[in-house]
Structures are given as structure tokens and as C-alpha cells.
């Protein structure tokens, strides 16, 4: 990353922190967007608390998707699990084809309002990228490398932990990154079923026809997405560097 890009990221991070901790400082910028003396800054709760609970549910859901998707990816690439590959693929694909809003609609009667239905929707939605990338990462490991590993007397577990997973790691991380970014945006609709999150700000704005609110919610989510995207990108590059691969090979 160039020095300019780094400065830009740091500036974005400072802006985000300043905005969620002391939003009133920015009232001047949002005031022109309001009408009829409506408040310029969201005033029905703390932006910081909403941001944190937004992040919390995204992290929890992605963590759960990662565990299941990676475990499934490993299982279907073992000799014992190979025949389950098509089945797992279709199941995970179904998770992706259901619109999250539909999942919410189905989940609310089952688990009630709040964070649970949102968690389920994000969890299902996040599986596909991680699962597909785990598969891609594991199947891309060169057969020659694996043959050498076997020929040197590594057992199946040693091959998985010492060769296959380290080699697949950058690709798996890319899947996790994709999943996190999707979830960050998708989590806003969780507020329709009373999950605490930045969606509340946007919905409040829509209900009271206050463009300033909508913009604030959207801005915080967007800044989060950009920063997390870049942060995870750095982690991927670090993993790829350990593979001894040239950096530009990992997009």
C-alpha cells in the first residue's frame, strides 16, 4: 500500500471514531439536509452503542459461518466426505439464494424478534463465499506437493494442518472477507426485526423523512466496510507472504 493510501485509511478511521463518539461535532454538515427543524444528528440512541452491536452480530455470524463452512470444506475434500460434495454445495447455495429479508420473515415466528433472526440470516448468507473459497483453496494445492508430503511420511492430519490449510489460508481469508462485507451491509435490515444495529438510524430516517439520518447510518456502515475490507486484505497479504508468493498474485 502506498503512503498516500495508508494516510487515507487512517483519516477514514479517525473520521469514523470521531463521528460515532461525538456526532454532535458534525451537526453543521448534516443540518442543511434537514427540514422543519428536524434534528440533524440521530438522537434516539448512542451511535457508538449501535455501531458496536452492529459489529458484534456481524462478527458472531461470520465466526459461525466460518467454522461451519471451513469444516464442511475440509470434510468434502477428504476421501471419506467426497460424495457429500454435491449435497453440501446445494445446501450452501440455498442459503445464498434465500433473500435475507425472507429468512427474517420465516425466522421471526420461530425464534422471536431481536438479534436471533438476524444472526440466522447473516449466518446462512455468509456460508457460501467461505465454503467455496475453502474448496478452491484446498483443491488448488499442487498434487506434487501433497505427493511429496505423503512420501515423506506425513499422515492425513499432518498433511491437512501443515500443508493444505496453510497453503489454502489466503484464499479462505478472501472468502471470509467477502462474507464480512456482505454481512455488514445486510445486518442493517436486522433492525426491521428489532436487532440493535445501524439499520435503526437508517429506518428512523426513512420513517421521519430525515435524509440526514439515512446518510449517517449509511456512512458509518460504508466506512466500516471499507476499513474492515482493507484490514482483512492486509491479513491475507501477510498470509500470502508467508507462502513465499509474490504479493501481486493475491488480488
Amino acid at each position: 500500500m502506498s503512503a498516500r493510501a495508508v494516510i487515507l485509511r487512517i483519516a477514514a478511521l479517525l473520521l469514523l471514531v470521531a463521528f460515532v463518539t461525538a456526532p454532535q461535532l458534525f451537526a453543521f454538515a448534516f443540518a442543511p439536509l434537514t427540514a422543519n427543524n428536524a434534528p440533524a444528528i440521530y438522537n434516539q440512541g448512542s451511535l457508538l452503542a449501535l455501531t458496536l452491536s452492529h459489529l458484534r452480530i456481524v462478527v458472531l455470524a461470520t465466526l459461525a459461518s466460518t467454522i461451519l463452512a471451513v469444516a464442511l470444506g475440509i470434510f468434502v475434500t477428504r476421501p471419506a466426505g467426497r460424495e457429500f460434495l454435491p449435497l453440501s454445495r446445494s445446501l450452501v447455495n440455498i442459503g445464498q439464494t434465500f433473500p435475507p429479508i425472507a429468512v427474517l420473515a420465516i425466522a421471526v415466528p420461530l425464534v422471536g424478534f431481536g438479534e436471533k433472526p438476524t444472526f440466522i440470516a447473516l449466518f446462512l448468507y455468509g456460508l457460501l463465499p467461505i465454503f467455496e473459497n475453502t474448496l478452491a483453496g484446498l483443491t488448488e494445492v499442487s498434487p506434487r506437493t501433497l505427493d511429496a508430503a505423503r512420501g515423506m511420511g506425513m499422515n492425513a492430519r499432518q498433511r491437512l494442518w501443515q500443508v493444505e490449510l496453510p497453503l489454502a489460508l489466503p484464499v479462505i481469508l478472501a472468502g471470509i472477507r467477502l462474507s464480512v462485507i456482505i454481512s455488514l451491509g445486510t445486518a442493517t435490515i436486522g433492525s426491521t426485526v428489532a436487532a440493535k444495529g445501524l439499520g435503526e438510524v437508517i429506518i428512523a430516517g426513512l420513517q421521519s423523512n430525515n435524509v440526514a439520518f439515512i446518510l449517517q447510518g449509511g456512512l458509518v456502515v460504508a466506512l466500516l466496510a471499507v476499513l474492515i475490507h482493507d484490514g482483512l486484505g492486509l491479513a491475507e497479504r501477510a498470509a500470502a507472504r508467508r507462502l513465499g508468493r509474490p504479493l501481486d498474485e493475491i488480488a
Partner: protein, 313 residues
């Protein structure tokens, strides 16, 4: 000593290895040579049980390999494949230390062994230990591959086309280096190749395979003078035969007393090299020198030709 007894393998209706038996003596290099698809690699992979034989068995120093757990067996057998299969995410030092680490050696012992091997393969430890495979040239990768296979001091080394991805110039040097190291360590080697020159250069004995069968297993000179089948004769190249024979004999065997003009040739050079030099220089004879450079006799075109004719009869 490796005894291969009646090994067979079939995949479906195709017989890949058909009742192959031969014995490799302690410290010998056996080269398995044949066209592609002859079953050479499968045969090699049955020795360390990467492929399970349908029939037959392999004894290493009298011990049936099936009585040892697979992974344990492979820790004791070095394995080098074409392209080497180096771990791209591990440094040269970590790659070489793979088997010792699997065996649970302590760190200091592994580090010492890695350094010893890097020295042996003329790779400066301070320069190469922390490099990644992609930062190495083909020849360096090849050396790391062999060093890795030798790390836990195996008595047996299996090599599947180990020089296959090197260009011809480096290949000759790599073969010489392997011979030097093998002579020093006394490792028994079974090497698979489709390159007949490589087989004659390296092999103490050569096994010729075709269509899953072992046609002949013999010393290189016997293969030339007494080919068992037409295919063997064809494979060793009828026209090439005298030259190959000359390349198996050193100057020492055809040396005459006396002296000659010109740059001396070393006594350990092959007759083929000597003849080549004589033809190129247009000389009837060359002085012969020992390792210290002192003249000890001469070698002549007539002497070489006479030797060549004699060994064919």
C-alpha cells in the same frame, strides 16, 4: 539391501507392473529405465507403499515393508520426485527439516543437520536457509529436494525423474553431484528415468522395463554386450553402443606406458572423453596425469579403439 519379489499391480484391466523382481545391493544405485507408461513410477511407489501392490513384497534389509506402519516406513526412505514438491510456504531450512521434525528431533539437532546438508549441497546456509522455494533457481530447488530427502539419514533413497525438469547443462552437473554425495554417504538409491544416458551415467545396475515387465536387470556393460531382448538393444541404441561402452571405462584401463605431447588428461576420465579430446585436438595420443597432475602414462586413439573392440567381443 532391497529385495523386490514378484511385485504386481493392476488398475482395472490394465496391468501396470507385472511380476517384477530384482535386488539392489547395499550402497548401489539401481536405475529403472523405460518408455513412459512402462510402470516405472508405480514400481518405485510400491517400494515406499504409496501404491499398494496386488501381489509380491519388498524386503528392506530382510524386513518385509508391510510389517512396518506406512508413515514410519516412509520416514526411513528418502523420496524425491520430479519438480521436487517443495513446500512453497516453508523456507529452505524448514523444508529440509521436515522429516526430522516429524520424527520429533529437538530444534538444535534439526538446525545442525540442516546446516550440514546445505553445506554438503553447496548452498551457503546464511544465504539460503531462510529463502522460500520460489526464490531459488531450478538447480537449487533440485538440491534442496534431495537434501530434504536425505535429512533423516535414510539408508534408501527413491528418486522419480529427479533431474527431469532441469536443463541439460545443469542436469549433468546435478548428476555428478549426486554421484559424489552418494559415494560419500553410501546411500542405496533406486532411481527412475526415461533418459538412457542418465541411466548409464548413474547406474551400478540398470533395470529395463517395457509394458509393465522387467526385461533385463544387469550391469550397464552387460546390457550393452548382452541385451536380453530386441527392445533392450533398441533402447540402448545399436549405433550408440560402442560409445556408451567407452563411457563406462576410465582411462586407467586403456593406459599405455610412455609419454605424449599436449595437455594431459586425468586418469579418472572416461575413454569416451579421452577419445573426444583426441579427435578434437587431432592428436594420436595424449599424456595421462593422476589426481595430483603428475604424468603417469599415455592414452592413444589406437589403444582406445582396441579396447572398444575387445570389450564387444
Amino acid at each position: 539391501m532391497i529385495e523386490i519379489e514378484h511385485l504386481s499391480k493392476r488398475y482395472g484391466d490394465t496391468i501396470v507392473v507385472d511380476d517384477v523382481s530384482f535386488t539392489v545391493g547395499e550402497g548401489e544405485i539401481a536405475v529403472v529405465v523405460g518408455t513412459s507408461g512402462a510402470g516405472k513410477s508405480t514400481l518405485l511407489r510400491m517400494i515406499n507403499r504409496l501404491v499398494a501392490p496386488d501381489a509380491g513384497r519388498v524386503l528392506i534389509d530382510g524386513q518385509d515393508t508391510t510389517t512396518v506402519p506406512e508413515d514410519e516406513l516412509r520416514h526411513r526412505i528418502g523420496y524425491v520426485i520430479q519438480g521436487y514438491g517443495l513446500f512453497p510456504h516453508r523456507t529452505v531450512a524448514e523444508n529440509i527439516g521436515t522429516v526430522p521434525r516429524l520424527l520429533g528431533w529437538d530444534r538444535r539437532r534439526i538446525a545442525a543437520r540442516v546446516e550440514e546438508l546445505l553445506d554438503l549441497f553447496q548452498l551457503e546456509p546464511s544465504e539460503f536457509a531462510q529463502k522460500f522455494p520460489h526464490q531459488l533457481s531450478g538447480g537449487q530447488q533440485q538440491r534442496v529436494g534431495v537434501a530434504r530427502a536425505l535429512a533423516a539419514k535414510p539408508a534408501l533413497l527413491l528418486m522419480d525423474e529427479p533431474f527431469g525438469s532441469l536443463d541439460p547443462v545443469i542436469r549433468g552437473k546435478a548428476q555428478d553431484d549426486l554421484l559424489t554425495i552418494q559415494r560419500r554417504l553410501g546411500t542405496t538409491i533406486v532411481l527412475v528415468t526415461h533418459d538412457m544416458n542418465e541411466a548409464f551415467h548413474l547406474g551400478d545396475r540398470i533395470a529395463v522395463m517395457d509394458q509393465a515387465r522387467l526385461l533385463q536387470y544387469a550391469k550397464p556393460a552387460d546390457l550393452l554386450t548382452h541385451p536380453a531382448e530386441a527392445f533392450v538393444e533398441q533402447l540402448v541404441g545399436t549405433a550408440e553402443r560402442p560409445f556408451r561402452l567407452l563411457s563406462l571405462v576410465t582411462v586407467k584401463d586403456a593406459m599405455e606406458p610412455g609419454s605424449a605431447e599436449g595437455e594431459p588428461i586425468i586418469v579418472t576420465a572416461t575413454l569416451r572423453d579421452a577419445l573426444a579430446r583426441l579427435i578434437w585436438r587431432g592428436l594420436p595420443a595424449l599424456p595421462v596425469a593422476d589426481a595430483s597432475g603428475a604424468p603417469i602414462g599415455r592414452i592413444s586413439v589406437d589403444g582406445i579403439l582396441k579396447h572398444g573392440r575387445a570389450s564387444l567381443s
